[in-house]
Amino acid sequence: MTVDVQAPPGAGPPIRRARLRFGAAVWRRPWLKAIGLLGPPTVAFCVVYLGALAALLVSSFWTVNSFTGELVHQWTLDNYRIIFSLSDPTYLRIAGRTIGIAAAVTITDALLAFPLAYFMARVATPRLRGLLFIMVVLPLWSSYLVRIYAWQTILSGGGALDWSLGKIGLPAANIAYSNWAMWLVFSYVWLPFMVLPVYGALERIPHSYIEASRDLGARGSRTLRSVILPLALPGIVAGSIFTFSLTLGDFITPLLIGGTNSTFIGNVVYENIGINANVPFAAALATIPVAVMGVYLVIARRLGAFDAL
C-alpha cells in the first residue's frame, strides 16, 4: 500500500495506470465524455430505429415473385402505382378511411378530455383529483384485447347497449360490426392518452392569469376562449399525436369490431405479409402512415406540442 502511494504516477500496475490515464484524458476533453455518453444511444437509434425505417423504404421499391414468394431485388415503382391508382381506388379508399377515422377519434377524444381534464386540474379537490386519475388510467391496467372483446359484447345484438336503450324506450342502436362501433371503441381505448397531456397543460396555467382576465372584465366564456384554450392547445395537440397515431396503426379493432367496410391500412399490411408474403407491397403501404405522421408532427411542432410533453 505505502509503496503504491509513494510511487510516481505511471509506476503502478498496468491496469490502474491505464485507468488513471483514461480519467485524465476524459477530464481534459469534455467532448470525449459527451461521445462516450451519447454514442451508444445514438448508434442504437440509427441502427434500430432509422435503420428499420430505411429498410422499409428500400424494400417498398422491390417486388416479389408471386409463385415462389421470393424477393425480386429490382427497382420499380409498381407498388406505389397500385396504391395510388385512380382507376382502382381500393387502397386510396382504405387509406382515406383510416385517416378519416383517426381524425374523428382524435376530435372526439379532445372534446371529451378537455372538460374532464379542466375539472381535474382546476376544480377538483386533491382527494377527488387522485380518484379521477386512477379512474382515467384504470382501463390501461387490463389488456387492450380484453377491452375490445368487452365492447364486442356490449355492442352486439342483445348486448348491454341495445338492452339499455330498450329500457328507456329507444329503438336498438344496432351498431355492432360497423364503423360507428369502431369510432366508439377507438375513442374509448385512447381517451387516457388525451386526458393526461391536456391535464398537464391546464395545470400549468397560473391562476393569476385567470384572475387578471376577470379583473379586466372578461366573462367566463371569454377567459376560456382567450386565455385557457390557447394555453391548453399544446397539450391537446400533444394528446392528439397519441390518439391519431395509435388509431392510424391499429388493425385489431377493425378485425374484431369492424363491419364489411372497415379495412384499415394495418389490415392490408398484415394480409400482404401473412397471406401473400408480399413484403414489398406491405412496406409501400406502410409508408403512408409514416408520411402522414411526419406531416402531422411538423404541424404539431409549429403549434408548440413538444413543449407540453
Binding site: 415462389t68 352486439s156 360490426y177 364489411t260 379495412t263 401473412g274 408474403a277 408480399n278
Partner: protein
Amino acid sequence: MKRIRKIHVLVLALVAALLVPAAGVSRGNGTSLPTKIGKGEGSLNLIEWSAYSDPSFANKFEKQTGCTIHRKDAGSSNEMVALMRAGGGGGGGQYDLVSASGDASLRLIYGGDVQPVNVNLIPSWKDFLPAFKSPAHNTVKGVHYGVSVQWGPNTLIYNTQKVKPAPTGWGDIYSGKYKGKLTVPNNPIQIADAALYLEQTKPSLGIKDPYELTKSQLDATVSLLKQQKPLLKRYWNYATDEITSFKNGDVWMGAGWPYQTLQLQGAKAPIKEIVPLPTTGWADTWMLAKKAPHPNCAYMWMKYVTTPQVEAKQALVFGETPVNPKACPYMNKIEAGSCAKYHLNEPASYYSKIKFWKTPVAQCGWQPGNDCMDYSAWQRAWTEITG
C-alpha cells in the same frame, strides 16, 4: 503483445460460434428421402388447428414415443403460412409439422417451406380414400409433401328460429332475403365459393374449376361478391368470431365449417347446417417443415394420427371426416351412426362433388397456358371486394 493475442483468440471463437449453427442448418437441408424412421428426438413442435393434437389421443403418442408435443395453435391459414415463414422460412428451425389446409399447402410447397415426405413410412397411407392419397393440394409432380389427415365440407349454417323455410342451397347467401344477417369468411379462397355458384348458375362464363379462373371469370366472380357485400353483417376472421355472431343473434345464416355448428349446438343454440352439393371443402395435410429439428418424431406423429383409431377420435373431437375409411367402425363405436353422419361411407361420386381448397396458380389445369389468375391476384381481388 499478450493482450492482442487474447483478442485474436476471442475473435476466432466468435467466428467459430457463428459458423457452427450455420453448418448445422445447411447439413439439415438434405433432400434425399429417409428410408426408415430413426430414434425419436424427444420433442415435437406443431403448428396446428386447435385440437389437432388433442390430449385425448396425443397423450398416448407421447407416452409411446417419448416425443413431447409443443403446440402452436393457429387461427387461420394465413397465420399458419406466416408462422412457417417466420425466422427465415421452412419453419424457422423451430417447427416440425404444420396441419396446413388446401389453401395454404401449395403456398408452402412453392415457397420452399416444406420438404418431401416418404409416404411408404406411413403404413395407413395405402388405405386412404383415393381422393386423399395424392391430392393436388399436397402432391406436386408425384412428390408428396405430407400426408392427408382429415377433411370436411364448407357448410351453410343457419338459425332455425329465424331462417324459415330452411335454406336449400348456396343461392340463399347471394339473395337479399336476409339482408344484414349474413356472414362469410374473410378469406380470399371464398372467391372459389362464388365461382362454384356461378359455374352452376351462369354456364356461359365457362368456369371449369373454381380454383382456376381466367381474368374474365375472376372479374365476374368479383362483381357477384361485390353485390353480396351489402347483404353481409360482417366477414368473420376466426371460427370463434362466427360462433359469437350466431350465438348473440347478429347473424342468422352464413358459410362455415361443421366445427362451428357442433360448437353452437353444444351450447344449445338453435343452429343447423346443410351441405349443398356441389360445395367447396377443405382437406388438411400434416406437412413436414424444411428445417424440421425433430424429423423422426414428426414421422412417428404422421404414422400415428393416420391410424384408424386415432383418425376416428380426432374426427369426432373436431367435427370432421377421416381420410382413412378404416376409421368407420371406430367412429361408430364412439358415437353410433357417426360414420354416416360425417359421410365417410359415401361412394366416390360424392367426393367429386366437393371441390377441395387448393391455392390458385397461374397455370390452368383445364387448358394449356398460364392464363389463370394466381393467388396474389385473388388476394388483390379480395382486398378490392372487402376494402
